[in-house]
Symmetry: C2
Subunit: 320 residues, 2 copies
């Protein structure tokens, strides 16, 4: 097994040497721009690590790993159009730098390219890899639709929220882990356990993201704090607070036109009163424990086991 | 072999019984709305007919045929967002009936669903079918990008235009024919000849579309005549006229604010003076002849040959 940064280097190298046509530039330049923007590369690293953990050269899964990363970047690109977001990873979004038509079309091309990458050297695993990938993609669209549906509602339950982030975010981490195991010829049961590990890791990851958006350090987190509060975004924090706040103060603030700084600090105060920062970390820890318990059923070398446990624990305590 | 309408009935029946999840409705309702809107269904019919022409039950290719039709409808859905079109097949476009986010996300889900359909019962042909399908999809995005690039230019050549419509429109007809032959276990050479037949048919088809947009009967054509002229769309007619009009009148009219009816009749007059209606039909006839000559290299039963010749000839003379 390698350490995270060694897998990361393999991934970044594969992305840097990705062969895309040059013309028409209006179609392919935004794809390169998007793929070169960096990011954690968590999904492709998971795929390579799962492949190596199952005893195969991680390069066996490199095309499938990059396929998943490209798919992930495609969803961000189209999400940014839908959310009308201006900035992604510190740079203008594609629809701001170019225009909306370009963002839609280049995103479509990224989705098709990701399927093409998935098929490269997939061999006998092509049908299974495609099933896993396409099924995951449909889950992600469903999650995005639910997320948009929730914008119109104040009565979203915690269960509905957890199902939404399972679909929108977590299954792709599960898909990455399962894909690595599949490419390493692991039995279906093992693929499934890797998938479940990834899904639980993803749930913890998203909850930590919700926490950091409200309580993070803007210097390390890399974006302004309080965006979710300002947008009345139905996160775990807001949903719990809406359910438990007896003062009626929270419902008053939502949708009101009070000053941004005041809104953030008032809502944060309500969250603190309800002890939500501690409680979200208990929940995160529970998902991390579940993720780690998925590893128990897989026959793993100690260093492979240590890699995935370490990754899970770091996700729960990350500050960026 | 069956007649066109019998294949059409098979296609429409398969689309009507397509199993899509019910929830979230915001994601799946627009897909059903789009697929139920009708249209010529030319591509799936070509796929089924090519499959039967190669001696197999046309149902062998039914999932791949519907995959191509769903892909086609996905491109129309996203094109309508990019073009900000209000009406498609006599009904409000998805982004008008719902909203733009819905149109983008449902389109993405249609693209993934089309790949899922493609894989159903593809058996040993999965890798080849996926290659053909994804390669075609990339061509179509490139064609759409060129089409958008042309909007900013007055110096588009006929060669550039023909390459654009080859990519944007024609290869998908080629893909449909080739896919039917592939699913029927036809040798690669035969798949290629079917593909070439479809591409040439597609070029003829698009040129006839250009003609009808300016010279068609609004009653039979189903949409207002002159839209291309009003939008200064770089069609074969406009590109030829820009090249050959010595009076300077055409360049004066383009981009000017003259009355719509006057613009259409003046531009049409210029086209007539240059004899473009006759000349575009000569060109269409040449592509139809090339399409038919592709059939010569394929061993076909007389009734299969007659089916594809008849379809080609009708495309050249269609009025809707």
């Amino acid at each position: 097994m390698k350490v995270f940064n060694e897998y990361l280097e393999i991934v970044n190298n594969a992305i840097a040497t990705l062969k895309l046509p040059g013309q028409p530039a209006g179609l392919y330049d935004p794809i390169r721009y998007t793929m070169d923007a960096g990011g954690k590369r968590l999904r492709p690293v998971l795929a390579l690590a799962a492949c190596e953990a199952m005893g195969k050269d991680p390069m066996t899964a490199i095309h499938q790993a990059i396929a998943i990363e490209m798919f992930h970047n495609f969803t961000l690109l189209h999400d940014d159009v839908m959310d009308n977001a201006d900035v992604r990873r510190g740079r203008p979004t594609v629809h701001k730098k170019w225009n909306e038509e370009t963002a839609i079309l280049s995103g479509d091309a990224m989705l098709t390219t990701s399927t093409m990458l998935l098929a490269i050297k997939a061999g006998d695993h092509l049908a299974s890899a495609l099933d896993l990938f396409n099924g995951t993609a449909m889950n992600i669209y469903e999650g995005q639709q639910l997320d948009m549906d929730f914008e119109q509602r104040l009565d979203v339950t915690v269960e509905e929220y957890m199902e939404m982030i399972r679909l929108k975010t977590s299954v792709l981490l599960g898909c990455a882990c399962g894909m690595g195991a599949l490419m390493a010829d692991a039995p279906f049961e093992t693929q499934l356990q890797f998938f479940n590990y990834g899904v639980n890791l993803g749930l913890a990851f998203q909850l930590q993201d919700d926490f950091l958006d409200t309580y993070g350090n803007p210097e390390t987190f890399g974006k302004a704090i309080g965006g979710d509060i300002l947008n009345d975004k139905k996160t775990w924090l807001l949903i719990m607070a809406l359910k438990e706040d007896q003062t009626g103060k929270l419902r008053e603030i939502i949708g009101s036109n009070i000053n941004a700084e005041e809104k953030i600090s008032t809502v944060r105060e309500i969250y603190n009163t309800l002890n939500l920062p501690d409680r979200i970390h208990e929940l995160i820890r529970a998902y991390i424990d579940t993720a780690i318990s998925c590893l128990d059923t897989i026959e793993l070398m100690p260093e492979a086991r240590a890699f995935f446990i370490d990754l899970a624990l770091k996700s729960a305590t990350r500050d960026k």
